[in-house]
Symmetry: C2
Subunit: 425 residues, 2 copies
């Protein structure tokens, strides 16, 4: 008998009907001879509604109390889901993150899992129960306070439990049919990916693909837990994320040269103008940014003008951190020594991801050719072993993504992508 | 420095404004030099909404899961209240029933507190925090599952914590100004009671007064914790419930002869007709009722008719148990041996409560005279040391209560009673 961990996002359990539909699906997995652990997010917009309430009583809600508040959301959905399963004649018990043994550090609102001790889950399973577990939450090792894992935390809960319970697979149910070769809202002919390696999935996640978060994939790779991303609204197989290609029916899924095209319009670009081209200047700039606790993404330094000995340094960062970065740099302007700052939030990033790049030297050239033929101007370039990213005007992103998708033969014969609803957490 | 436990019901924290108002009140108590523990119910109609959701997914929700679900309600209100207090510049921490050390038996939906181990609360207080505690909930000693205490459970939480922390007083904040000499919705001239003994309060609670539940008063009496029932919407002193009269300003509050008039229209009457008047018959009837887990209230056996040797036995019980009692009796009709059953749910009970009865022999006569002058017919009578109760037609109850209230000189000079909102739990 296998052990399966399933995770259902907020849009899958948005109302009583959704909960009953998910209950049926869980019972099916149990009937197929599996032990089943289902990790569940808060219903629909519950989390946003609770945050709204918090803001009504306090402009800066305390982290500890915000976590206490938000974890009420999963408590509601998990209890209802257990009731719905029992109503179908199967035994089920719900567990909070704390009861499930999800031990975290003490960083409220974005805690990290440091251990999972699922003794009660194991007992419940051994007694024939389906175990329902609250996603997104844990308990601090040091203070015994309730913590939350931050956005996408329920996926991480599911993968961490799958690792601790040595599950065969972690199924992530969402409102799309799987991971696509591009965002189906932008590329109608995007194809569902049958299998993708952990490495390619990590690159897609850090390049703007929102189906799985980086942290969750990283965790699955470390413990080698296969993830199956699929829709809770259909019974089609979804996308497998694992170390080795899986077999589907009698056909072996092969490693694609290119996995997909991701895009991201959530970043801004800051250009530091007139920086003296001497050792330590870049370090000084990025130390300032790091001290403000801002993560930067791409960095490019221009060749300095021989006449002046000055250069420009550009980097990208989340738009939400733009104000903070500008303030931090201005405050240290004299110490760093630069002329001025330029801030640009009308940029977009397009990334091509695929392990095949390493052995196919023409990929980079084909990528630039496709962009050029689509009339898209490139502002910044950065590459890794299995990814090429460029920054363009934000307006050019949809056209650029479609052009690259077509150029690399990723288009499907039909418009197959279906998007069902919002996104969970 | 004193330690005060306060309890705020659902109507006091129905929305963000209510939570902010309650936060100010708690901070005031802290500023007055007290250590403060605030026990809070779920916001407004949250509990009913959650029960409604449960019924949508399962007609008979499992007790364990229903408790898990409902306890989300206090989690929300307590976290918001802690945030609101911190926003006023004071330190506060919220605790679930489990974190607060409220240990119960394992009877889901109506668990009983068997121990309180408030170590974390004590620590939080000693570190200068205001402690906010979820009412109505605890954790089972045996199974470690989350439990709830049933209706009125938050009051019991507050009293139990007050006892465990050796508090000076347990303040119960509600939507009325205190305990009244009669229900102000029925008697416009009802007076607020300044002080009432535990014993009289117990009789009022078991006679239909809804301000405090019997279990909570019983707990307070056992540990001798003074209760102060007052309104969260005004700053007037309310009603003190304690073993000895309290002093208010420079006047000593005296023991009243009569504390008040309570009424109850939630009961029904069953008459067992044609019971052989021989030993063991009554026992056989009430064993049947007890086996069905039904609590009965008043019992009256008629004098048997000499000609037949048969008698009638009448008793009252909650209307909600009526069907169950009739079924149980019918099923055992042959064994018990009676002719027929009469069921009557159009009855009401009026009770006069006061320790002064013991030493004022005229009270009973005055009570019956008042009812008779109001044209109210008496169907059943029962008495205790400090209470007389009668059963009448339900329609007669308001007039009967007003007549008795006036006859015993309880009417105030003015219409002082104010009712602010719904009732908490």
């Amino acid at each position: 008998m296998g052990l399966v961990v399933q995770k259902y996002g907020g849009s899958s359990v948005a109302d009583a009907e959704g909960i009953k539909r998910v209950a049926k699906r869980i019972v099916e997995a149990k009937k197929n001879g599996n032990q089943v652990v289902a990790v569940v997010s808060a219903m629909g917009d519950t989390t946003d509604e609770l945050i709204d309430l918090a803001e009504q009583v306090s402009p800066m809600p305390a982290g500890r109390e915000l976590d206490m508040l938000l974890t009420a959301g999963e408590r509601i959905s998990m209890a209802l889901l257990a009731m719905a399963i029992k109503n179908l004649g199967h035994e089920a018990q719900s567990f909070t993150g704390s009861q499930a043994g999800v031990i975290t550090d003490s960083v409220h609102n974005k805690a990290r899992i440091i251990d999972v001790t699922p003794g009660r889950i194991r007992t419940a399973l051994d007694e024939g129960n389906i175990a329902i577990v609250a996603g997104f939450q844990g308990v601090s090792q040091d203070t015994k306070d309730i913590t939350t894992l931050g956005r996408g935390g329920s996926d991480t809960t599911a993968v961490a439990l799958a690792a601790a319970l040595d599950a065969e697979v972690c199924e992530i149910y969402t409102d799309v049919d799987g991971v696509f070769t591009a965002d189906p809202r932008v590329v109608k002919k995007a194809r569902k990916i049958d299998w993708i390696s952990f490495e390619d999935m990590l690159e897609l996640a850090s390049s703007g693909s929102k189906v799985l978060l980086h942290r969750c994939v990283e965790y699955a790779r470390r413990y080698n837990i296969p993830i199956h991303v699929r829709s809770s609204f259909s019974s089609l197989p979804g996308t497998w994320v694992s170390s080795e290609p899986i077999e589907q029916g009698d056909k072996q899924v092969e490693q694609a040269i290119i996995s997909g095209v991701a895009h991201d319009t959530s970043e801004a670009k800051i250009t530091v103008v007139g920086v003296p081209d001497k050792p330590g200047e870049a370090a000084s700039i990025f130390r300032t940014i790091a001290d403000a606790e801002i993560n930067i993404d791409m960095v490019v330094q221009n060749v300095s003008a021989a006449s002046t000995g000055l250069t420009d340094i550009s980097f990208t960062l989340p738009k939400t951190d733009g104000r903070k970065a500008i303030d931090a740099l201005e405050k240290n302007k004299d110490r760093i020594g630069f002329d001025s700052l330029r801030y640009d939030d009308q940029i977009g990033k397009i990334s091509l991801v695929g392990a095949g790049m390493k052995t196919n030297p023409g990929v980079t050239a084909d990528f630039f050719t496709a962009l050029s033929e689509a009339g898209v101007n490139i502002e910044l370039i950065s590459t890794s072993e299995i990814r090429i990213s460029v920054v363009t005007r934000a307006d050019d992103v949809p056209e650029a993504v479609r052009a690259v998708h077509t150029a690399f033969g990723l288009d499907s014969e039909t418009d197959e992508a279906v998007v069902y609803g919002g996104t969970g957490r």
